[in-house]
């Protein structure tokens, strides 16, 4: 039977304002699951007033060290409490959860990775996975608010990195698609994670370019395992679970083919 895993914090620090990086180590006797980029885990704040796991995407997996790295925004009391943990503290973890990106559909292609804000971290694990795939050309366009950026160095190890900032203080002024256009990037497929307006624009962009897009969606979650039906997204076709048009982001997602979801 599966259960929550008690992980130990081996590194915790802020990378930018409100952006926390936390590395968690599996217990000695654990055999960590292989990570599919785009998967997430539920992290439980060490605060008895907080019941629910925080769904946080996996930024990096190190199978040698048996460590998972998470980079998250301190958006509320729960994530603030996670960010307040110290090296050596333990954090309970549910998962790995979710489907992740299908590497087979990306290998050998010109892949464009788009990350906006706190949608950037899962793109690092994806870039690293694609780096190992022969003949795969990866361009990563990452959108930040301003020059207070994070993970850029790591991303450059695995991809050609383009930067967009809202205020123009680094890279292209504007959003990730502005950076893509400014650099005349050509791609066979797009993978994106970020705020909903960005994902809508990416869907349109991919449609116009006639290429597939895989979007990683976010929603408020409770159980994380597909039982509560809290985190659904509208789908183009009847979903497999409830036979309506609501797929569970935690289970059928978080990565969806853009054409399968109705995100407006």
């Amino acid at each position: 039977m599966k259960k929550k895993t008690t992980m130990t914090v081996t590194d915790i620090r802020f990378l930018a304002e409100g952006i926390c990086s936390m590395t968690l180590k599996y217990p000695e006797n654990a055999a960590p699951e292989e990570v599919r980029p785009g998967q997430f885990a539920g992290l439980y704040p060490n605060d008895p007033s907080k019941l629910l796991p925080r769904p946080i995407s996996i930024c990096r997996f190190d199978p040698e060290k048996k460590e998972l790295r998470f980079v998250f925004r301190t958006a509320g009391a729960g994530t603030l409490s996670l960010a307040a943990q110290k090296t050596g503290d333990t954090v309970d973890m549910l998962g790995l959860l979710g489907n992740g990106y299908d590497i087979e559909k990306l290998a050998g292609k010109r892949v464009l990775l788009l990350g906006g804000g706190i949608g950037i971290p899962p793109m690092l694990e994806l870039a690293a996975a694609l780096f190992k795939e022969p003949g795969t050309d990866v361009t990563a366009a990452m959108g930040y608010r301003d020059r207070d950026m994070f993970l850029t160095e790591e991303l450059r190890r695995y991809a050609r990195l383009l930067i967009a900032t809202e205020d123009g203080s680094a890279g292209t002024k504007g959003n990730v698609l502005d950076a893509v256009r400014a650099n005349a990037v050509e791609a066979d497929v797009v993978c994106a994670c970020g705020p909903m307006p960005m994902l809508r624009a990416v869907k349109r962009f991919a449609r116009e370019a006639g290429i597939p897009a895989y979007l990683s969606l976010e929603e408020r979650m409770a159980c994380g395992v597909g039982a509560c039906l809290g985190c659904v997204t509208k789908t183009a076709k009847v979903d497999g679970h409830s036979h309506v048009r609501n797929a569970r982001i935690c289970t059928e997602g978080p990565v969806f083919d853009a054409e399968e979801v109705e995100i407006g």
């Binding site: 039977m1 929550k4 007033s49 929603e219 039982a227 809290g230 409830s242």
Partner: protein
Amino acid sequence: MSSNGIAKTGKPDLSVEIAGVTFKNPVMTASGTFGSGMEYSEFVDLNRLGAVVTKGVANVPWEGNPTPRVAEVYGGMLNAIGLQNPGIDVFIERDLAFLTQFDTKVIVNVCGHTEEEYLEVVERLADQPADMLEINVSCPNVKQGAIQFGQDPKCLSEITEKIKRIAKQPVIMKLTPNVTDIAEMARAAEAGGADAISLINTITGMKIDIEKRRFVLANKTGGLSGPAIKPVAVRMVWQAAQAVKIPIIGMGGIASAEDAVEFMLAGATAVAVGAMNFHDPCLTVKVIDGIGQYLTRHSIAAAKELTGAVL
């Protein structure tokens, strides 16, 4: 509390009986928090459970409410799922078929907008392998007209009677706490012929994002569950227990075996673990084991001796 010394020598008897159905222990899953068991079967050996109470099922698939559907609050959570479900056909084919593989009782939670919809589901379940039916007349997120069936004693009594007339399985009426007098509602269900009652469903609540000046839930209001509601639930179980003779399944914020025992002492024959499954997917089994340990520690021979022991 009585004690006859049996617990000193052997394992305490955890079994309980409700309306002629024997449960191997008093711990169930609260409807809507455990799907149809499939999702949690990787975490919990379903054979261990007293019963799996399934998520509400209607006559046809329901889409549920827009998102956000869930929000966390201090010591609890709000939900306004809106009873998304695949409808009775898929439920029977897939979910019920899945559950029959396990040595646990299956209680099917039934929902509807109208009397006819409830009756249609109950009828469809007549020849199905469900051990009991739980009728959800109390979901705060789904309403037809101004009031839920479960908020008016006359309505509650009438719908119970109509369901009982056609149901082939014992019927549990699930009561809402969003009423002035829970004892009156318990009596109304009993008068309508209910074999048991379960309580409490969620308490209507609300959360506002003060930075965005918006309701957090798309539905604005949602049902509050989790440890925050436990004292209210225990009180209501105690009040209902004094008002009726039919068995009570107690629920509301159970997070431990101690919480479960508290509900039983207040008058519950069995209990259900709800929102806290999300905190610990393995919680149900821990509650079962913990009840056994409590009984042993107090030299109580059987779990059923706990029911109403403080009344």
